[in-house]
């Protein structure tokens, strides 16, 4: 006898079958049926204070665990509030499954209460989406959604289910084989292309390995480091790939791009070969595309064929999974070496890079009298934690400094919103990361502007017992906007002042069930952090009133060539 279930119970059963441990969400009218069986389920539900927060929690969870993050919301405003996290996950290739309630099928199209055309609205911000109109389709839709989210180029998938479909019954059957005739992502790289790639690498005297977020999505760090060492490839890690190779590794050049360091930027500019792995030649990396790496041949490895040739023509394109292809390259290179091949001499290139590193280090100056510099706070957190933490950032100056000054030694310890640049990402994403990795220290490094966008999720954190740390870098302004107004709008500051005293961050934190701390001067930074790190039973917010006039350097102005990098404030025209 097949078991008879409601659509809602079948949905929860399907989630259990996908080994879902936790769902982040906010209930509401149309999704109500699904919130009943979840009470009896092994799936933990974490009640966010806003659907955007729930979506970013799912993203932080996915980032930290490598599993699919799951978010649930109701129809209409619940679904529309998910659009930002979905597009964020789309841009950064984060596997998320979003489940939304919809008004009953009989009401669709009648402008019913809390109706929105979720399927249509979410289409361009998801890898794929579903409107399930037959209750018997629920198990298959969920199975396909998880498959699509987690394979190929990962991304968000939304499943919209009308309320009447959730209430109808079906005879439960485990979903059959996935039938997606138009979806067959490549995994292994074409052997001929792999051989051609090794040919180019052998011939190159100024190569750079350009590692992007795809390396981390494919768990390819170890393979990457092994290959970089074998082929003596200096390696840059994009904002999405920080930690793919330890920053302390002699071949690591750090972050390239708009706020990258001089060596990483210039190495790419002067290279005769770029080996791009899981990277998409984003405008923040390339600067003016026609002036980017003008002498470099390109090997482009990506699981998404559409990325290859989108911005820069590849001399050797290889479609497939990043780790698998790096391993293929390693194997092929080893074979060649066995047969007597050897790399072009890289000594002078490596020495040049080494000299650039020495001559143009990232730097800042902390006056002991203050004001506090964000870079100093970041370095102090690193010192006191030994770097053993997952760092989550918002978007803006604090994010760039965190990426620059935190020495990343392990993969998946840096979580941020890269492609979409979503302010407010840090607090909810940190909550998601802490749920995934409860034994790790999770620290959100956030700006005051970002913090004010999603801080209510700290209520979620304290009530659900998710003890994250949040370092609020309070420069009392929208710092990155201010920096641009200073540099490109003649110091005419418009709508960037957040004031230094409102809100009272300590009081605000306490009101949400967190510990609130404040370091007023540079000398208080260390001791305050020590206090914060000693708390393990609830979330802590530490406010650092920071220099409101500091600017992030190096900087390649938008639309400029990477040759015109401004290394420090002294280089300003």
């Amino acid at each position: 006898m097949p078991e008879t279930l409601t659509g809602a119970s079948a949905l929860i059963r399907a989630l259990e079958n996908e080994k879902v441990e936790v769902v982040f969400g906010v209930p509401g009218g149309a999704i109500l049926p699904a919130y009943d069986p979840i009470l009896d389920s092994t799936v933990r539900h974490i009640l966010a204070r806003h659907e955007q927060g729930a979506g970013h929690m799912a993203s932080g969870y996915a980032h930290a665990s490598g599993k699919v993050g799951v978010v649930m919301a109701t129809s209409g405003p619940g679904a529309t509030n998910l659009i930002t996290p979905l597009q964020d996950a789309m841009m950064d290739s984060i596997p998320i499954v979003a489940i939304t309630g919809q008004v009953p099928t009989t009401s669709i199209g009648y402008d019913a209460f809390q109706e929105a055309h979720t399927w249509g609205i979410s289409m361009p911000v998801t890898k794929h989406n579903y409107l399930v109109t037959e209750v018997s389709d629920i198990p298959n839709a969920i199975k396909e959604a998880f498959h699509l989210a987690s394979t190929g180029r990962p991304g968000p998938v939304l499943v919209d289910i009308p309320k009447d479909v959730l209430n109808q019954t079906l005879d439960w059957q485990s979903p059959g084989k996935i039938d997606l005739p138009g979806y067959r992502p490549s995994i292994k790289g074409h052997p001929k292309q792999v051989r051609s790639a090794v040919d180019l690498i052998l011939e190159s005297s100024r190569p750079v390995l350009y590692a992007g977020g795809g390396v981390l999505r494919s768990n390819g760090s170890e393979s990457l480091v092994r290959f970089a060492e074998l082929a003596a490839l200096p390696t840059v890690t994009t904002l999405m790939a920080r930690g793919a190779i330890p920053d302390s590794h002699p071949l690591a050049l750090g972050m390239p791009g708009m706020h990258g360091n001089y060596t990483a930027i210039t190495a790419m500019q002067k290279a005769d070969l770029l080996v791009a792995v899981g990277a998409r030649f984003d405008d923040r990396v390339t600067g003016r595309p026609d002036a980017f790496a003008p002498e470099a041949k390109i090997i482009h490895i990506d699981v998404d064929p559409a990325e290859i040739g989108k911005v820069r023509k590849a001399d050797v394109p290889i479609v497939g999974d990043a780790r698998t292809i790096i391993d293929q390259l390693t194997e092929e290179a080893e074979l060649r070496i066995e047969k007597g091949a050897h790399w072009m001499d890289r000594e002078s290139w490596l020495e040049t890079l080494h000299n650039w590193k020495r001559k143009h280090p990232l730097s800042y100056n902390q006056d002991p009298e203050g004001p506090i510099q964000m870079q100093y706070v970041i370095e102090q957190i690193h010192r006191l934690t030994g770097g053993e933490a997952i760092v989550v950032a918002g978007v803006g100056q604090h994010q760039m400094w965190a990426s620059q000054f935190w020495g990343f030694e392990r993969p998946n310890t840096w979580i941020n919103s890269g492609g979409l640049g979503t302010m407010g990402y840090a607090v909810p994403a940190a909550i998601g990361a802490k749920v995934a990795e409860p034994d790790q220290l999770v620290i959100a490094i956030d700006g005051d502007g970002c913090f004010q966008m999603t801080l209510q999720e700290l209520i979620t954190a304290s009530i659900e017992g998710i003890p994250i740390k949040v370092a609020v870098m309070n420069n009392s302004s929208l710092g990155m906007v201010k920096q641009w107004q200073r540099l490109f709008y003649d110091e005419r500051y418009s709508a960037i002042d957040l004031t230094s005293h409102t809100p009272d961050y300590v009081g605000l934190a306490e009101s949400m069930g967190c510990i609130g701390l404040r370091a007023k001067s540079p000398s208080e930074v260390g001791p305050t952090l020590e206090k914060a790190l000693a708390v393990t039973d609830r979330p802590v917010v530490i406010e650092f009133p920071c220099d409101p006039d500091a600017m992030v350097f190096p900087m390649v102005p938008a639309g400029a060539s990477n040759d015109d990098v401004i290394v420090s404030a002294e280089d300003l025209p």
Partner: protein
């Protein structure tokens, strides 16, 4: 330059919206689009005419849609390409016979005849239709409706026997 793309997609609700949304999102221009069933009831064929140089990206982005099974670009010599058009033209009763006769050279049929107008139906490749329009212009076109282009790749074995269009007389420019 116009390119003809033939996309075999799963016959599922909303698949056309996915295709057109992707084109809009990526800033690709659609010149015309036609969608219809295939011999396999699970599949539909979308024929898209696009302008622009970004063919490689367009094809890759089409493939990226989960419901897209196969994408073929058809060059002018590689496909049988057709459009259908209805044209209503002024028709003085004294000229009616002459018009119908010259239309027949294009294999265009009168499908509606009124007191002062004739409506012709014509199908063929785009050049054929445009030649016919040029002829009709001399009588005065009142309105017209035109379908999107549809196409099938030529069978290589029988390529030589495929007609370019309905055998038609070119307009004599004089």
């Amino acid at each position: 330059m116009n390119h003809v793309i033939s996309a075999l997609v799963e016959n599922k609700p909303g698949v056309l919206a996915r295709v057109s949304s992707m084109f809009a999102r990526r800033g690709f221009n659609i010149h015309s689009l036609a969608v219809g069933p295939t011999v396999d009831p699970n599949m539909s064929l979308i024929t898209i005419v696009v302008d622009g140089p970004e063919m490689e990206q367009i094809i890759k982005q089409l493939y990226k849609l989960v419901n897209t099974v196969k994408v073929t670009e058809l060059g002018p010599e590689e496909g049988v390409i057709r459009e259908i058009m209805l044209v209503r033209v002024n028709s003085d009763p004294t000229k009616r016979a002459e018009m119908i006769e010259s239309a027949s050279v294009f294999s265009a049929r009168p499908v509606d005849v009124g007191a002062a107008t004739i409506t012709f139906e014509i199908s063929g490749d785009p050049e054929h239709l445009s030649n016919f329009l040029e002829l009709m212009r001399t009588y005065g076109i009142i309105e017209l409706a035109q379908s999107g282009r549809i196409a099938l790749p030529k069978d290589r074995k029988t390529k030589r026997h495929t007609t370019a269009s309905t055998k038609s007389a070119r307009m004599d420019p004089s």
